[in-house]
Amino acid sequence: MIQTIAFYLFATLVIASAALTIVARNPVHSVLWLILSFFNAAGLMVLVGAEFIAMLLVIVYVGAVAVLFLFVVMMLDIDFAELRAGYAQYLPFGVLLVLVLSAEMIFAVSAWSAGGIALSASVAPVPEGVPNIEALGTLIYTRYLFIFEGAGLVLLVAMIGAIVLTHRTRSGTRPQNVSQQVKRRPQDAVRKIDQPVGQGMDL
């Protein structure tokens, strides 16, 4: 009973906040609605029993990806009123995209209801009595090992690409040089003088 109520609550909130993500005029509000949508999707994942995926959604999507989206929104210097002015111009293209997507959905749903798609045959069987995260771990690091290493390479490429694209050395800055600071001895910086009375000081 509670599970059914929770499912309908989360599912409604996912769809509603996803719709608001698209409809919201302010892009910052869009990102905030997207975060709400991620949280509710995590709730749905918990209901299915995939708790590790749920936690991953919260940690990676809410904690990192949404922050990245916010940064991107804040970094772009776009006049959003000007952006919306091209509505009529992009309308045919948008309608075409909607047609393609809805056709895909109709095909998928009708193929599903026609039967013949044995989805459970192609996915790995869920082992009984093993926690979700453990079952996932035994699969990722054995059966899907090369895909996992490929994911590591993709992350490496992403890191190097981000550094190459956005990093530039700035001239005129004075960064802290720790080894130079540590190397400096008192005799380099301090001078003891016996100052005679009545004479000016020599610096």
């Binding site: 918990v46 890191m159 550094i163």
Partner: protein
């Protein structure tokens, strides 16, 4: 799979309590101010202000692109940590091959980390 979700029931209850309390904290003062007749919004009262004076500029100031670099480095090491959890839990079952796979994965990302360090991408200046 109902047993997994049932373990999260207390969190759902807490969420409900939090939702009820926060709704009460927002709505009750509004209702009270409406009921007692002290609700009197006008343009100056509704305008945003910082430290008591009118705001200088739009709240959406443009960010430096350096924040983006920090965020993307954070995502990558966040994902690395996320991959470590299932590996650590199932280390007994996956054996030496699984251990080696994670070591190679870590080496790949360490390579990127060394690159970022040497390039000075981690320095803020």
């Amino acid at each position: 799979m109902a047993s997994v979700a049932a373990g999260y029931l207390p969190i759902l209850l807490f969420l409900g309590v939090a939702l009820a309390l926060s709704t009460a904290f927002v709505l009750l003062p509004m209702l009270v101010s409406k009921a007692t007749g002290s609700s009197n919004p006008y343009a100056d009262k509704l305008a945003e202000y910082e430290c008591g004076f009118p705001a200088f500029e739009d709240s959406r100031a443009q960010f430096d692109v350096r924040f983006y670099l920090v965020a993307i480095l954070f995502i990558i090491f966040d994902l690395e940590a996320a991959f470590l959890y299932p590996w650590a839990v199932s280390l007994g079952a996956i054996g030496f091959g699984g251990w080696l796979a994670m070591m190679i994965f870590l080496a790949e990302l360490t390579l990127g980390f060394v690159y970022a360090w040497k390039k000075g991408a981690l320095e803020w200046e």
